[in-house]
């Protein structure tokens, strides 16, 4: 009995401690609830940050790094980024996706390359974790009937189709169109695929020019004088090119050396608009037109993204890599806000009903069809001007008029 009364007796000290604890719990509880609602969504960012595609992967990562502030400004919930380096390897991409999900990633984005993206998509689908593709153009990825895979990037067919449409728009605006072109392309995987795609798609667009000659060259070539000499002797008006960075620089230097300025350089791939091309060639870099998945410089969010990148990485022009990685995160944050939870199914459902009009890429906005593909995306035609890039087509996303024809190389001072 005495023991019982002892334990039942409420001392002043116990009362104070109890009240203190109750107060702490009562005080902390609301914060707990708030924390649960705004706890950051864990996003696994899978990119080839080492290996052959390291440069591109790191460029994409910059797009992810600058996203935080902008998303907050848009009133979207915070994201916690977990980096996964795919090492430019399909095997590693798959195991990294598994690891990120094991580590708690509630949504995945990535992975620049179609092969790596396909490997990740299978893991995401198997685990029921939403996967938003930033860059990968193989059409088959969204043709598999996946329920958790979404792509806000044009497919290869969309890229080629829009490129020809934009060319025709430019020709109509300038009232000038080349009658013939020399088609120069690298003979690596990308170049060969593009060459085949161009041959297949071009007839459908009734282009005003004919391909006078097709010249394939090795991407590791150190001298392209013969190729340029052949192109020049073909007597074509313009150059249609699919190249990489190094060969784009080599081709330009050869044209200068051989005193040949075609009416236009129409590039259907990377190289001609990259920062390194602009910096290396200076005034000689002006003029080429590139037909690429780009951004709409007139959209308010594009201006903010440009400013954020310029602040974080001065001297780097905003590009495809930054834009589409940022937009993948925008999709994730927007879906998280609307879903109100990090439950994968709720997130996937929210992504499916995405309708973002305040975005960066050209077109009406970000929305996905039944296959998880944003088929409303549009490509742009961009032109190099004084170390910067301006958009010249489509009209709806243009911020400059095209300079046509290409200013002669020997009159650039």
């Amino acid at each position: 009995m005495p023991r019982q009364s002892k334990t039942a007796r409420l001392t002043r000290r116990a009362f104070t401690a109890g009240m203190g604890a109750a107060g702490f719990v009562a005080g902390a509880a609301p914060f707990g609830i708030v924390r649960a609602q705004t706890a950051p969504l864990k996003v696994g960012v899978l990119l080839p940050r080492s290996g052959v595609q390291a440069g591109i992967g790191q460029d994409c990562w910059r797009g992810a790094e600058i996203a935080g502030g902008l998303l907050q400004e848009l009133g979207l919930p915070p994201l916690q980024l977990i980096s996964g380096d795919t090492e430019t390897n399909v095997d590693v991409a798959r195991s990294r996706a598994e690891k990120l999900i094991t580590d708690g990633a509630q949504l995945l984005i990535g992975a620049f390359d179609s092969g790596q993206t396909t490997a990740i998509a299978q893991v995401a689908e198997q685990k029921g974790v939403p996967f938003v593709i930033n860059i990968a153009a193989a059409p088959q990825i969204t043709e598999q009937g996946y329920k958790f895979v979404f792509r806000n990037f044009p497919t290869a067919a969309m890229i080629l189709g829009d490129a020809f449409k934009n060319q025709k728009e430019i020709f109509a605006e300038t009232h000038a169109a080349p009658k013939s072109v020399v088609f120069l392309h690298v003979n690596d995987t990308f170049g060969t695929a593009m060459a085949k795609g161009i041959s297949a798609v071009m007839p459908k667009f009734d282009m005003p020019y004919k391909i006078a000659e097709e010249i394939a060259y090795d991407p590791t070539a150190r001298d392209l004088s013969v190729e340029i000499a052949k192109a020049k002797s073909a007597g074509a008006d313009a150059l249609l090119v699919v190249s990489r960075l190094n060969d784009a620089i080599l081709l330009t230097r050869e044209m200068v050396k051989q005193r040949w300025t075609p009416t236009a350089i129409l590039s259907m791939g990377p190289g001609w608009y990259e920062d390194q091309y602009l910096k290396t060639l200076g005034k000689l870099s002006d003029g080429p037109l590139s037909f690429v998945p780009w951004y709409d410089p007139n959209k308010p969010l594009s201006k903010k993204l440009e400013a954020a990148l310029a602040k974080a990485y001065p001297g780097i022009n905003l590009s495809t890599n930054h834009v589409y990685t940022f937009e993948a995160l925008l999709v994730a944050a927007d879906a998280y806000k609307r879903a109100g939870s990090a439950d994968p199914k709720a997130l996937a459902e929210a992504i499916r009903t995405t309708h973002i009009t305040n975005n960066v890429s050209p077109g009406p906005g970000i929305m996905f069809n039944a296959k998880g593909q944003n088929d409303k995306l549009q490509l742009s035609a961009i032109q190099n001007r004084g170390g910067k890039l301006v958009t010249v087509a489509p009209k709806s996303a243009a911020n400059a008029r095209v300079v046509w024809p290409l200013p002669p190389y020997d009159k650039r001072g």
Partner: protein
């Protein structure tokens, strides 16, 4: 039969092998999906490492283009599946002879015209590169745009069509690795195995003893290529997409040979141990760097390179010969 294959093996080694196999067989019960993925990679490299080891470790013929057989096997089975709905096991029946034939062609070219050593290695690279470029332009396999196998959520494992959960692939590769290990031991203890060793040690002397070196080197290449074809088929149906740039690339060939080199060329268990060490080390480094909060792309590869260098400098014969001596198991390198 297995008892006959294990004949002559130290008792401790047999017990350890049985324990390892039992542990691996039970792994899916306790391993998470991530660990399972890593184990699948380990088994894949252990299997192809053993296939390569037949050529280099047993017969002394350095191939730096084994990705050729992975790619050919993968593309053959995948294309038959995509175009005609032919299941992977029947595809395997086409892939194995095809790879054996290509292996025979490479071997014939080299051995007939006495292309040996470094020149043979270059020839294997050249043929693999030739295949890569060729497949880039082969429309039937979708060229450089990549060949995609249809994928869906499978409620159950379909072993006949190789569609299902990674656990299924894990057990297939575990069985294949074990069978390959036993097969390699059987080969080594056969007449052919002794001829290979004689060729590896001194080809001129072997020929002087009356061994038909051309024939037995051809046998080594054909068996190795045929075995590698199986890995290609599994690769195709596990990853479900094939790009010539990825499957035939020389970096894939280098990945295949690293395991046996680190584990111990010419040994039976070396390729398996090498696969465990390399893939395990890579994953551990990733985990360790993440735990330390180090996010420097490429840092893992630098550490990885240093670790490999250390292994090669300290243990030039590979890890297994040293480890087996330490464990008192004797060497399995004949």
């Amino acid at each position: 039969m297995i008892a006959r294959l294990l004949e002559g093996m130290p008792r401790a080694a047999a017990v350890l092998l049985a324990l390892l196999f039992a542990l691996m067989a039970a792994a899916p019960l306790f391993a998470g999906d991530y660990l399972l993925t890593v184990l699948i990679l380990i088994l894949y490299f252990a299997y192809v490492g053993q296939a390569w080891n037949i050529m280099m470790g047993f017969a002394g013929q350095l191939s730096l283009g084994h990705a050729l057989y992975v790619g050919l096997g993968a593309y053959t089975a995948a294309a038959l599946f995509v175009h005609f709905g032919i299941g992977p096991w029947i595809g395997l029946a086409a892939a194995v002879p095809l790879c054996a034939l290509v292996g025979a062609f490479v071997g014939f070219l080299a051995f007939r015209f006495r292309v040996a050593g470094v020149y043979f290695a270059i020839l294997t690279i050249a043929v693999a590169e030739f295949a890569r470029v060729g497949f880039d332009h082969l429309d039937w396999t979708r060229g450089s745009a990549g060949l995609f196998l249809p994928v869906a959520q499978y409620a159950r494992n379909d072993l006949w069509h190789l569609r299902g959960h990674p656990v299924m692939f894990y057990y297939i590769l575990l069985s294949a690795t074990a069978i390959a290990g036993l097969g390699c031991r059987a080969l080594l203890r056969s007449r052919v195995g002794y001829f290979w060793l004689a060729i590896r040690e001194d080809e001129e002397a072997a020929r002087a003893l009356g061994i038909d070196t051309f024939r037995y080197k051809m046998v080594a290449v054909v068996i190795s290529a045929a075995m590698t074809a199986f890995a290609g088929v599994i690769y195709a149906f596990y990853y479900n997409n094939l790009f010539p740039e990825q499957v035939f690339h020389i970096s894939r060939s280098i990945e295949i040979i690293l395991g046996p080199i680190v584990g111990g060329i010419g040994t039976l268990f070396g390729p398996i141990l090498g696969a465990f060490v390399l893939t395990g080390l890579a994953e551990m480094l990733t985990g360790a760097l993440a735990a330390l909060g180090i996010d420097i792309p490429g840092a893992k590869q630098v550490f990885y390179g240093i670790c490999l260098l250390a292994v090669i400098v300290a243990l030039p014969e590979g890890i297994w010969p040293w480890l087996s001596r330490r464990l008192g198991l004797g060497s399995d390198k004949p």
